[in-house]
């Protein structure tokens, strides 16, 4: 039995002098395993070719399509319409990022800036000879690094974060997870002191209010809070040395 869905999408073009923020309502027939990706594609092809939104992989792995779905930031491609019992779904762009148009926000510039702030790359002094056998890493250690490498930079934790809304330069859970990832990786020779220089302040690890929405909403189920706590313990110990 198919039912009718009501999709309310936020529309606004900040570059236009006449555009005003408003919602537009679209009605469509639900199909089995329908996702918001399927809905929005249909809307653009059949009802409103001008509606802006972002999808790349449509499979929950690239993080492009995060948006507010009935008030909660989620990946639109992985959100099934059947999970909304009354069939009414309201879509808005994520806060905390620069708005581009309608449901589209600029996560790219925010994440590139984050990567530069936490120097999100391996730091060591060695020249690796790539003809030679690679450095040995304990299998469990590689697996643990992978667990922290799974962040897809969707921005959901950033949009979920109350500290970020009050403190615009807050690095958010994703940035702090990234520091934990490199601290854990044996290839990276940075010390706790080095990380203190990067995130040992209120825009970094000491700004977090532990409200946990980042972890609640993370589509990859990353251990954001335990890693923020871990970084905080490490950096506090460093400060007290």
């Amino acid at each position: 039995m198919s039912r009718k869905l009501t999709i309310k999408a936020f529309k606004y073009n900040p570059l236009s002098k006449i555009s005003k923020p408003h919602f537009v309502t679209y009605e469509l027939e639900e199909t089995p395993f329908m996702t918001i990706f399927v809905c929005l594609t249909q809307i653009r092809e059949k009802m409103d070719a001008d509606l802006s939104f972002d999808f790349v992989c449509r499979a929950g792995i690239c993080g492009s399509c995060a948006m507010m779905i009935n008030g909660v930031p989620k990946l639109a491609c992985k959100t099934l319409t059947k999970d909304y019992p009354d069939g009414v779904i309201e879509l808005m762009p994520m806060p905390a990022f620069r708005h581009i148009k309608d449901l589209s926000v600029n996560t790219g510039e925010w994440f590139e800036d984050m990567c530069k702030r936490v120097e999100s790359w391996v730091h060591n002094e060695k020249e690796t000879d790539i003809s030679k056998i690679e450095e040995r890493i304990e299998p469990e250690v590689a697996d643990e690094t992978f667990e922290l490498d799974r962040c897809i930079e969707c921005g959901i934790c950033v949009a979920s974060c109350a500290t970020k809304l009050m403190r615009p330069n807050f690095i958010a859970a994703t940035g702090l997870l990234r520091t934990a990832r490199y601290l854990q990786d044996p290839h990276d020779h940075r010390s706790v002191e080095d990380f203190y220089e990067l995130v040992g302040d209120d825009d970094g690890v000491f700004g977090c209010m532990s409200l946990l929405a980042c972890e609640d909403n993370c589509p990859k189920n990353l251990p954001l809070q335990s890693k923020i706590a871990y970084m905080r313990r490490q950096l506090v110990a460093q400060k007290n040395k």
Partner: protein
Amino acid sequence: MNIQYSDALVIGGGLAGLRAAIEVAKSGQSVTLLSICPVKRSHSAAVQGGMQASLGNGAKGEGDNEDLHFADTVKGSDWGCDQEVARMFAQTAPKAVRELAAWGVPWTRVKKGERTVVINAQKTTIKERDEAHGLINARDFGGTKKWRTCFIADATGHCMLYGVANEAIKHQVKIIDRMEAVRIIHDGKKCLGVIARDLTNGQLIAYVARGTMIATGGYGRIYKQTTNAVICEGTGAAIALETGLCRLSNMEAVQFHPTPIVPSGILLTEGCRGDGGILRDVDGYRFMPDYEPEKKELASRDVVSRRMMEHIRKGKGVKSPYGDHLWLDISILGRAHVEKNLRDVQDICKTFNGIDPADEGPKGWAPVLPMQHYSMGGIRTKPTGESQWLDGLFACGEAACWDMHGFNRLGGNSCAETVVAGMIVGDYFADYCKNNGEIIDTNIVKDFLSKEYQYLKSLTDKEGKHNVFEIKNRMKEIMWDKVAIFRTGEGLKEAVDELEKLYKDAQDVKVHCKELDCANPELEEAYRVPRMLKIALCVAYGALLRTESRGAHYREDYPKRDDLNWMKRTLTYWVEGETLPRVEYADLDIMKMEMPPAFRGYGAKGNIIENPLSEKRQAEVDAIREKMEAEGKSRHEIQHALMPYELQPKYKALNQRIGVDYE
């Protein structure tokens, strides 16, 4: 007039483009990289299974080396590849994996001692060597002699992409995302850069550089059923085609992957079968051993895809509202394995189909059907990555026909190609940019800019008859119905005729939103769809003319691989104003091959129209090998005598392996 200058310009922010950009940055030159989406969202992130490199660390990889990787790649290509390029690739792949490890990519590592694996649907115990402990591990993939595919669970592409993108940021590659290259600027001989459109505000900008590289990936989205991300529309290759100079090569060589999930088309990695997963039909019966007794589910992708469709045609498919499909069963690997090594696969099955693939029995089987997956064809280049027809234009990755995949690519080789070509071609590209500094005539740039503006304006001004989405969807249906896994002359002729008509219709569409200076998705479709149609026509027309079956190109009316008449590469180009591509051919020289054409080892035997040169060349190869082996020459010296190839010394250096050192 907004003109941005840099030493080098890279179009495309996936693994190939980013890795090449790093190579330029390391040479001390400025490099700008344009990407249609934030680079870490590129389709490279979707690589699940892994990348092939003959490290030979794991027990099942013991004895592996470049020679075996080269031989598998050539066989996999159905002898359609450039063997010198396949050599360059196989030699550099171990270095690429090791470089990525040093950049922090958390490859899954070997744990010494015994472990249980599933081989041919049987639980088997293998013992990893003590000396391999902590080195990079590899899993099994189709069409390979050894377990050679290095991996990180089933998120290999994600980890690689992040490792490479972070390194690019470290090296100060100037990354500009949401910027789409829409036209190549050239003076008829030399490429000067591109005109790009800012997808956030509609602004047109000329990016001018000494050298330009296109690394924009494949064109899967010309098909209705594809595993490709929505950005894989082939428009990077199309703007090269639109120069009227560059040739696209082997566009008819389109790979179909056996196990995308139905109906969403999201890929379930080949690692599912590599790790021991099996295919079942409507009766729950494992049918692949009947067709391919030797390699079963792990024959190469084109073979498995065709066998699946053959089985469905025999009435053994499972009926569904989305058409017939088959089942993929990975529950036999055990819950622990699925939840560790195939976690994203499990997540995809759960989210998009409500199935937990770790559940035993039919409950956990995932519905699968072969769909478009990879484009072996692309912008034809020399082994250095430069176009033969437009100086200063380079291509690498899936957008290029470099050509190491020929008519069928092995799983794990595309992901490997991105970084390997990024290194090799990136290095040649950096050299080119360094050695070719010319004063640019800004009048040419200005001309291209104003023409582009006029073109976009004409699209919004026109009150055309057609709807661009309808044209696009019709194209996808034609490609899926008539230019897919099984092809016939009749179907291809119909496809070409109808695509040509669609191409003409696409010149007359109506764009409702008239604003040029903001994100305007309908306008974007209006300029992309004609380009996609050009690509689709190259595929369909090339397929119509190629009257043989080779690799993924399968003609039911010409089922044999015809080495007598078709040892040649298709070259397609487009003359402005015409509505069909023009086609010419370049011969593959059997007498220069290290491995002359022979039986692939899977698929039907005796299905080849032989070329007498194959036998002649094989005799030569055998004689050289026999003589040199008797003289006690090393495998490297013998290889050099059989087929010398050029490669930068830093990449040509021998690869060290445990147990054999540099041998």
